[in-house]
C-alpha cells in the first residue's frame, strides 16, 4: 500500500523573464514503512521534491497524495499548515532548532501549534527526547549541544506528533560519520517502532545501505530507481 503518490509533478520558478525548472514531471510512489533515498547531483530537485511532498511549497502542476490527503489541492495556508503539523515531520541539514529555546521546548513546538495543553505536551516531548536518547539534555539550549545531539533533538521534534511521514533533507550533511551512523540507526528504529515512512535526500551514497530503495533525480526528472542490491550502479555515475 503506497502512502505517498506523486504523479507528473512540476515546479517552475520565474526569475525575471527566465523560467527555471526545479522539477519536470516527477512520478514516484512510496510504500508505507519504506526508507526511500532521493539522490542526484546538486540542483537536481531533491529538496524541492521533499518540500512539495511535505506541503511546505506548492507545485506548479501535478498530483501529490499523502495518505488520503491530496496535498496539491490544499489551497489555504490553514489547510497546509494543519497538514504539515499532522502528517509530516521535517529534518534538515542545518538542524533548524530555535536557539533561544531549550531542547524540550524545541520538541514541544509542533504540539504548541496543535494546541496541546502544556503538561501533556511536555510529557510527550520528554518521551520523544527519550526515544532519541537525549532526555538528560532536555533543558539544554542548542548552543550547548554537539551537532549530532542537535540533529537528534530535531528528529525528536519531527516525530513528537507521530507523523506518517518523515522528510529528511541531507540530515547527515553536517555530521561526522559516527553521528551519521547514529542518525541512520535511529531512522531504522523509528520505522520499526512507529511504522513511519522516511524520505531522505542525500549526497552520501554510503547511507544507501540503510535504505530500501533509491530514486535518482537529474535535472528535475527521475533518471532511475534502484532497489537494494542495485546501488552499485549508482556509484559508477
Amino acid at each position: 500500500m503506497s502512502i505517498v503518490e506523486v504523479r507528473d509533478l512540476w515546479r517552475e520558478y520565474t526569475i525575471g523573464r527566465e523560467k527555471v525548472y526545479a522539477l519536470r514531471g516527477v512520478t514516484v510512489e512510496i510504500e508505507k514503512g519504506e526508507f526511500l533515498a532521493v539522490v542526484g547531483p546538486s540542483g537536481s530537485g531533491k529538496s524541492t521534491l521533499l518540500h512539495l511532498i511535505g506541503g511546505l511549497d506548492r507545485p506548479t502542476q501535478g498530483v501529490i497524495k499523502v495518505g488520503n490527503v491530496e496535498v496539491n489541492s490544499l489551497k489555504s495556508d490553514r489547510e497546509l499548515s494543519k497538514f504539515r503539523n499532522e502528517y509530516v515531520g521535517f529534518v534538515f541539514q542545518m538542524f533548524h532548532l530555535v536557539p533561544r529555546l531549550t531542547a524540550v521546548e524545541n520538541v514541544e513546538l509542533p504540539l504548541i501549534a496543535r494546541g496541546v495543553e502544556a503538561g501533556e505536551r511536555r510529557r510527550a516531548a520528554l518521551e520523544a527526547l527519550k526515544l532519541v536518547g537525549l532526555q538528560h539534555r532536555a533543558s539544554h539550549k542548542p548552543t550547548e549541544m554537539s551537532g549530532g545531539e542537535q540533529q537528534r533533538v530535531a528528529i525528536a521534534r519531527a516525530i513528537v506528533t507521530q507523523p506518517k511521514l518523515l522528510l529528511a533533507d541531507e540530515p547527515t550533511g553536517n555530521l561526522d560519520s559516527a553521528n551519521s551512523k547514529l542518525v541512520m540507526e535511529l531512522f531504522k528504529k523509528l520505522i520499526d517502532d512507529m511504522g513511519v515512512t522516511i524520505v531522505m535526500a542525500t549526497h552520501n551514497l554510503e547511507l544507501l545501505e540503510y535504505c530500501d530503495r533509491a530514486v535518482r533525480l537529474v535535472d528535475g526528472r527521475v533518471a532511475g530507481v534502484y532497489q537494494k542490491g542495485e546501488y552499485g550502479k549508482l556509484f559508477s555515475k
Binding site: S81, R84, L97, A113
Partner: protein
C-alpha cells in the same frame, strides 16, 4: 494554538530583547499616564463646575474689589444706578489675628448686611449658611468660618457658640462673641469664606474700622446674559485701582486654563503614543528580520501564517499591557498627590473606569497597528525561503 501560548511565546520573544522591550513599555507608561491625567483633569473640572462652581457662584453677579482706598457709599450709589443692576451691596473686610489654643491665627473680618449673605455666598437662603447658632451677625456677635472653629486636620471643634473671641486689628483688641458657626464652604472665591469672621456692618464701622469704606461691592443683575456688558460699564465707572470681575468670566477663564492644561497633557500623550508606536514598529521589524529562520521553522512544524502574525502582535500587546499597567499604577499614585489649586477650586484628576479604559486602549491599538505591518510581513514569509535565509 492556545491564547495562553501566544502570550507565553511572546513573552519569550520579549525577554530576548529586554532593553528594547523595556523602552517601549516606558513609552506606553508615559502615554497612559499623560492620557489619564489629561482626561481626569478635564472630567474633574467638569464635575467641580457642575457640583460646586456653577451652583455656588451666582451667574448674575459682578464683583468689584478695591482694597485701598476702598469703595464708598457714593460709589455704591453710582454703580447701583447702572441699568440692569438689581441689587448692590458693599462688603468691608480687614485682616485680623485671633488667639487660638495654638497661638495666633490670621483671619479676615468680613462685614456684610445679613440680608445680602445669600447673594454673597450664592446660597438659596441663610439657613444653609450655619452649622450651629444664628446666621445673622448682630452687634459684636459674629458668625465664624469653619476653618476657625474646626481643626482642619482632625475635624474636632475648637470653638463653641457663646464663647468670646478676641480679634487683634491694627494694634487694638476687639472683643467679639461667637453667635454662629458657619458650615464648611469648601473653596476660595475672592475671599476665603472658611477663614472669615462675619460681622454686622454697623458694629464693624463702630468698633473695628473708623472709615466707612468697602473693600468689595457686589452687584446682582436681573439678566445673567448682560454680565459682560455691565462689567465693561462698571470698569469705566469704578474708582482707579479697582478690580472688576464676574464669576461667569472667572469660570470661563478657569475652563480655558484647564482645557489648555488638558490639551498640553493630551499632546504629550499623543506624542508618546506616536513615538512608542514607531518604536514598536522598528523593534518588531528588527525582530522579524532577526527571526526569519525561526519563522521558517515554526511554519515547517505546522504554525499557520495567522499564528505567526498573532505571535508578533502578542508581543506588541504584551509590551502595551505591561507599560499600561505601569502607567495605571503611576497615575493612580500621582493623582493622589496632584492637586491643582485654581484660585477658586482644587482640581484632582478623577480616574473613572471609562478614562482608564480609553487610556489603556489607545496606546494598545496604536501599537498593534504599528506592529501589524512587520507582523504581516512575517506571516507572509515563504517557509522554504525563510529556512534558507542566512
Amino acid at each position: 494554538m492556545r491564547i495562553s501560548d501566544y502570550l507565553l511565546y511572546a513573552f519569550r520573544g520579549l525577554s530576548e530583547r529586554k532593553g528594547r522591550s523595556a523602552g517601549a513599555a516606558v513609552g506606553v507608561a508615559i502615554a497612559v499616564t499623560a492620557l489619564i491625567l489629561a482626561l481626569g483633569l478635564g472630567e474633574s473640572f467638569q464635575r467641580a463646575f457642575s457640583e460646586t462652581l456653577g451652583r455656588t457662584l451666582a451667574a448674575n453677579s459682578i464683583i468689584v474689589t478695591n482694597t485701598a482706598p476702598g469703595l464708598t457709599d457714593a460709589d455704591l450709589l453710582l454703580l447701583g444706578s447702572l441699568p440692569r443692576v438689581e441689587n448692590v451691596f458693599g462688603v468691608a473686610t480687614v485682616q485680623a489675628l485671633v488667639t487660638t489654643a495654638s497661638g495666633y491665627r490670621s483671619i479676615t473680618i468680613l462685614a456684610v448686611d445679613p440680608a445680602h449673605l445669600p447673594d454673597l455666598l450664592g446660597l438659596g437662603n441663610v439657613g444653609e449658611f450655619v452649622e450651629e447658632g444664628t446666621s445673622e451677625p448682630k452687634g459684636l456677635g459674629v458668625v465664624i468660618g469653619a476653618n476657625i472653629w474646626m481643626d482642619q486636620s482632625t475635624g474636632s471643634r475648637l470653638h463653641d457658640v457663646g464663647e468670646a473671641l478676641t480679634a487683634r486689628v491694627g494694634g487694638k483688641d476687639v472683643k467679639l462673641v461667637i453667635s454662629g458657626l458657619a458650615k464648611p464652604y469648601g473653596f476660595r472665591t475672592w475671599i476665603s469664606i472658611d477663614d472669615s469672621v462675619f460681622m454686622d456692618p454697623e458694629a464693624f464701622f463702630t468698633y473695628v474700622s473708623g472709615r466707612r469704606v468697602y473693600q468689595a461691592v457686589i452687584l446682582t443683575l436681573d439678566d445673567p446674559s448682560m454680565v459682560q456688558t455691565v462689567v465693561d460699564e462698571v470698569r469705566a465707572l469704578a474708582p482707579p485701582r479697582s478690580n472688576v470681575f464676574s464669576p461667569v468670566a472667572m469660570v470661563a477663564q478657569l475652563g480655558m486654563f484647564v482645557n489648555s492644561l488638558g490639551a498640553f497633557l493630551a499632546f504629550i500623550s499623543v506624542l508618546s503614543v506616536g513615538i512608542t508606536a514607531l518604536w514598536i514598529f522598528d523593534s518588531t521589524a528588527i525582530s522579524v528580520v532577526q527571526r526569519v529562520k525561526e519563522i521558517g521553522i515554526l511554519k515547517a512544524v505546522g504554525f499557520s501564517s495567522t499564528d505567526v502574525l498573532l505571535i508578533f502582535l502578542s508581543e506588541a500587546a504584551l509590551v502595551s499591557l505591561i507599560g499600561g499597567t505601569a502607567g495605571l499604577l503611576l497615575s493612580v499614585t500621582a493623582s493622589r498627590f496632584i492637586t491643582i489649586p485654581l484660585f477658586v477650586i482644587r482640581l484632582t484628576p478623577s480616574l473613572s473606569p471609562q478614562i482608564l479604559t480609553v487610556a489603556i486602549a489607545a496606546p494598545l491599538v496604536a501599537n498593534l497597528a504599528a506592529a501589524a505591518v512587520p507582523a504581516r510581513a512575517a506571516a507572509r514569509l515563504d517557509p522554504v525561503k525563510a529556512l534558507r535565509y542566512e
